[in-house]
Symmetry: C3
Subunit: 273 residues, 3 copies
């Protein structure tokens, strides 16, 4: 009696200019030929663990339950652990470095039910290098899990409480204004903030309402709280709840990052206009 | 008695820097796990509906018959309709915004036999946002169709004659010269024109013949009507029938867009040298 | 009695901005619907046959045995042959232009057991153009092979000895220093050299040892022979054995190509510090 393997999703900062992603696909296909692999994205900014964690958390609800491979790993080759874990809710299996990358997704799924250290997994490749654990450790273990291996068989038991956590900055409301930070900019120049839609309501900004956005460089911009880009003119700023449910800033047919001159970690102050 | 799901092809302007394409793949895999998805390209210039329509029309003859998802959607969140349609010939199912994106392909397949408005489709996701209909409407409906749902079940019947058409500029022959326009430039800087190979013959340009190309900026360049890039020297211009059967301009081992300083919609005049 | 088709891997310099890769996938799916296609990469620098050959050779050991389609083809449309071949070891089937692209991989697999010229293959598409043999010849033939067609059925027998070879430059040791060349730079700016790890040992550089790197522009840089990027400070140079087993130069969290001002074919001299 055979079962279809679990689907695998794959997120990384490898980019597509090189063969790194393709080689991981090959490793998976050799270990578990029938596994389907869905590439979430490989365009995470290089070594930006936080961006990877945010994107992974937002994407998983739209992915079939399975094995979720994620590699953004500035510490490859250092003693940071390599881990695989099972989430409390849905029983998703997450595989990647122990640097917080997996933890926002895990927390949004009720936390970690079981974790193993896969740094010396019997599923590792013989070819293992010190620079490409995506191939030699993570993809190999993900494929084994998709093929049905038990978590306890691919690594050494690890206390979930010992996993490296990831803390995001949090926007706060001060004097009727939201002090927010840029968590991530996407490829279109949209800026994802740490503010919650509830905070906008708290300072009195409702659908269609006007805002000011003050940048760290003390420039003031006007924006509209809109639900669709086309509600503002081309070139104009809007604040919106993005497709992951986070507050974001965009420019219709343009780049908010360019218009605001803002980048990752910059502070923005939002207030009613 | 089960049948394999129809293959899905997917074209968009989402790019691959972000998770947007991957999330659509996830949505499809959740609704129709066995569907195969072929990415035609996600590199359509942002919001360039015409480029998307031209590429889709050219690619479909090389795609298996199935469900053809296409999203280039500057009007997302506005009242533009979301549609699914069946082509007269081959019975291909096309899914996307009602902005002309699907219509060149549909016309090349004998027109539209049946169309439905899927803006309120029962197949939409509950997560629906105003900015990401690719995920919430189009991918979800495409997956349902691939799984075998009837067109009439995924939306409200729509008069095919009411669909938004797309008109391309048309080159014309004036005084022995072709006044053509740049419809699209590809990633290598090749310029796809609205001229037909028959128009080249009409003004007396045969295989291997010499041409002049006058740009809007009144510069004159010399080119050769060739069938392969390597028929001209590196850096030299050639005019050729591209792999989609359209007249195009290229530079061997270079970029025609750069050499001619020409972009989308620019007029070029082609004449025998 | 049906067998699953062989997996197909696909490497090219087509990039992902256009539909070229997607159209090849479509051609494959039409001929062999059940074939799985693994994209190794489509980011080979345009027309850089040598870079394609190096990446293909390095990637194949991690790919399942099957049909290996590779297209980097500056001579498309010229009389260069189009070929399919079977390797002595593992019986992998390689498909691509006869310009050396396939030959490093073939040599690393014991050489070519059988080769055919597919330029007039009965499997070619009727649509054939002079500019897109990837679609019309190579993808079509690869799909036929994956579907189980014999090599002898898809082309005319060819003497393996007549295939175009590819010779790489070779680093040499002179006066205790390695004169190496940049074979390829990857998307992160890492420089892959023609030097062998054994040559580093020959001049007395061991793990963790210091080196000098002299560029063609007579600049001297200091580096460390390390096994992981994180063994040197951000911004610092390291020399390492890369994941393909080749000697490479990198900058931790930076670009060696930029720091050294070095590009493909440049000479670098490595010596103990």
């Amino acid at each position: 009696l055979s079962t279809a393997p679990a689907p695998i999703t794959f997120l990384s900062d490898y980019g597509l200019a090189d063969e790194y992603v393709g080689v991981c696909h090959g490793v998976i296909a050799r270990r578990c030929p029938a596994a389907r692999v869905i590439d979430i994205t490989h365009g995470i900014p290089p070594q930006d663990v936080r961006a990877g964690a945010i994107v992974l958390r937002g994407a998983l609800p739209h992915m079939p339950v399975g094995v979720h491979l994620a590699v953004v790993d500035p510490g490859v080759g250092t003693p940071r652990a390599a881990v695989a874990l099972r989430t409390e809710q849905e029983g998703r299996l997450l595989v990647g470095p122990d640097n917080g990358l997996l933890m926002l997704a895990a927390e949004s799924l009720g936390g970690v039910a079981e974790a193993v250290d896969i740094g010396a997994s019997p599923e590792r490749l013989a070819s293992r290098s010190a620079t490409f654990h995506g191939r030699d450790v993570f993809a190999a273990v993900a494929a084994a899990l998709a093929a049905g291996e038990a978590l306890a068989r691919v690594g050494e038991a690890l206390d979930p409480a010992a996993l490296v956590a990831l803390r995001l900055p949090e926007a706060c409301v001060v004097d009727g204004s939201i002090r927010a930070h840029v968590l991530h900019r996407d490829g279109f120049g949209n800026l994802i903030l740490d503010a919650a839609p509830a905070q906008l309501r708290e300072i009195g900004i409702g659908d269609g309402g006007g805002l000011t956005i003050d940048t760290a460089g003390s420039q003031r911009h006007r924006a509209k709280y809109a639900s669709a880009f086309a509600e503002v003119n081309p070139g104009a700023l809007l604040v919106y709840e993005d497709s992951l449910g986070m507050v974001a800033v965009a420019v219709n047919r343009g780049s908010a990052a360019e218009v605001l001159g803002a980048a990752r970690d910059d502070e923005l102050a939002l207030a009613p206009a």
